[in-house]
Symmetry: none
Subunit: 192 residues, 4 copies
DNA sequence: AATGAATGAGAATTCATTCAT
DNA sequence: AATGAATGAATTCTCATTCAT
């Protein structure tokens, strides 16, 4: 209950402007109670992605079931990424506009809980290279970075524009560009 | 002097945690003086990119001089983008970790001063399409978004990792991937 | 305790010049504590007459017990009014020199709490008219206004002169003039 | 020009909330210029009634010309008093709601400039006593105080009620009550 | 385990006044 | 005489955190 309330409140305002008292009210507990479960405001803040990342990864796994071919997996990955944040706009705001740019978060333990997720991306890219679909002349880590960078950017833009358009709108075009960028340029390897 | 001091201070802390009094001290003026030139703390904050964007655009223009071919321009654009933020890490922190992610900034007038710069990116992409180098099946705005998204992401990551590695490190690989992603897949159109 | 401290402090200075920190010190609480009980400085300020008016009315009621005849009641009313402010000079200063003259106060809810008191004055005047003592050719509201106006003025003058003379000094003469002004001019009605 | 601007500005806000810069703007001079003519904000504030009182007394004198009988003079005095403040509501606000309750004003030199005016009231009352119209058993100073107190109260109430009704409305009834209060009760002395 | 009253540090902003030009 | 840029003191209010109950 506390975490759910925290997501609601943190997503409305900045971390700084969100108040423990409002979170307590929404969670129907006393302020002091929050401090029984979380060391301080920041700890509560960082506890949010722990939960949400688990949720994301579990669902992602299901969506990737029975899909073959790295590019198809990548397309699905991109689709689900955008879909997930479309469905969780409050969490999106908190993660993208607050946490992602916080140095303290980047150093926190919680940050590592995102690893489950970034590892998945890495796995698919490596698979693609082994299949001979994805170019091997570029470092996998760089590739992953670019792909995730684009996705984060798409979500961030959508949030900053007030979530007024459909986040999925450009999904297929973006997918196409990304997949294309990762492929070899000549048909030969591609057709393999 | 005030703006210079503001960049220094805002880059060390959050907007919230940066204090006018510290900025005043660094700028060697009284606190009140700042309020003669800027309506409030936020106005001072938003005045920073105004100046810096001008500087960026002016220099970018020089660097693009005498370069022909959209892809070469894009490579230069990417290079200069990373180079500029490498040389202005304090501004980078302020822009990428604070402003870029602020709804108030996205709605501010200052935000529009960035247009000079994003317009330049658009121009090059269109040029590339006319030259027949860049694929025409994807919307120019989406292309621009992806490219700028990747660049922002590279800088942001670097900042969050404590600027411990060389931001330029992956410049050429990233350029390559981007340029590749924007090209047609078969040699025919490319050679046109 | 907070209200008591507030009366002391507000009576020394203007509302503007009175500081929350001084009130907190005098009340032996932290500044923040004041804000748990009063929304802001103004709310605390306006809370003062709420309490004091209650006190005034309760005592007034006792003093009027067993007194018969509207004029005797009026004399007692005048006497107690002056006596009360003589005994509460700090509250007098706050009420007469600050609140009475503040538009924000005139519009506040608290202002209405004074009604208990002004209603009492009206009641006595009406009683006097029914008894045939007080002239009926002048509106009761105007009569009340004049009487209260005179009383406020007496207290205000006393305060402005530094409370150096005895506020009760002119009590009987003023009473006499007022009572006389309210009576019919010829003996006939008076003796009725 | 400065004083005229000052009246406008001070009448809109509290003394505290009125700013020199706004007065300067309205007077079309620089802030510094004000300090060439007035030692400080308070001196400027207190300079206002100096001028206005002169104006008031001069006109009052004219209105009293050729009027005979103390009661007629008193009626005229009351009438002109209310009329003057009705016509000068901005000054009324400044004088009644700010100055009249300021201890600093009560001690200032300017306060004495009001003496011209209060002396006039005294003169009329004494005249009335000599004529045998006004009771001699009450001190002239008390009488004056009551009369002026009532008038100040009428104006103050009107201001606090937002000047929404006609200040002159109750003029004749109030005059009547006052004159009556000052008279002897039996016909004998009155007719003397 | 839960509460919630009390705490008190911390910061933006205003504006009267000065004084070099 | 007029200017107006610079000053910097001074104060309200917020809110994370504690701890006795």
């Amino acid at each position: 209950m506390i975490i759910r309330a925290a997501i609601e409140v943190f997503s409305k305002n900045t971390f700084q402007k969100s108040s423990i008292s409002e979170i307590a009210q929404r969670a129907n507990v006393a302020e002091g109670t929050i401090y029984q479960y979380f060391k301080n405001k920041e700890a509560l803040f960082f506890a949010i992605p722990d939960e949400k990342t688990k949720e994301f990864c579990k669902e992602l796994e299901l969506h990737l079931q029975s899909i073959t071919g790295a590019f198809n997996k990548i397309r699905k990955f991109i689709w689900y990424y955008l879909y997930f944040f479309k469905m969780n706009p409050e969490y999106a705001r908190t993660l993208m506009l607050e946490m992602r740019v916080s140095k303290r978060f980047a150093k926190s333990k919680t940050y590592k809980s995102l690893k489950t997720f970034t590892d998945k991306a890495l796995e698919i890219i490596k698979e693609g290279q082994e299949e001979g679909l994805i170019r091997k002349d570029v470092d996998v880590y760089i590739i992953r970075q670019l792909v995730l960078g684009i996705l984060e950017h798409l979500v961030t833009r959508w949030l900053l524009k007030g979530e007024k358009y459909d986040l999925m709108k450009d999904c297929s075009e973006a997918s196409e560009l990304i997949v294309h960028g990762l492929s070899y340029s000549d048909g030969i390897q591609k057709s393999r």
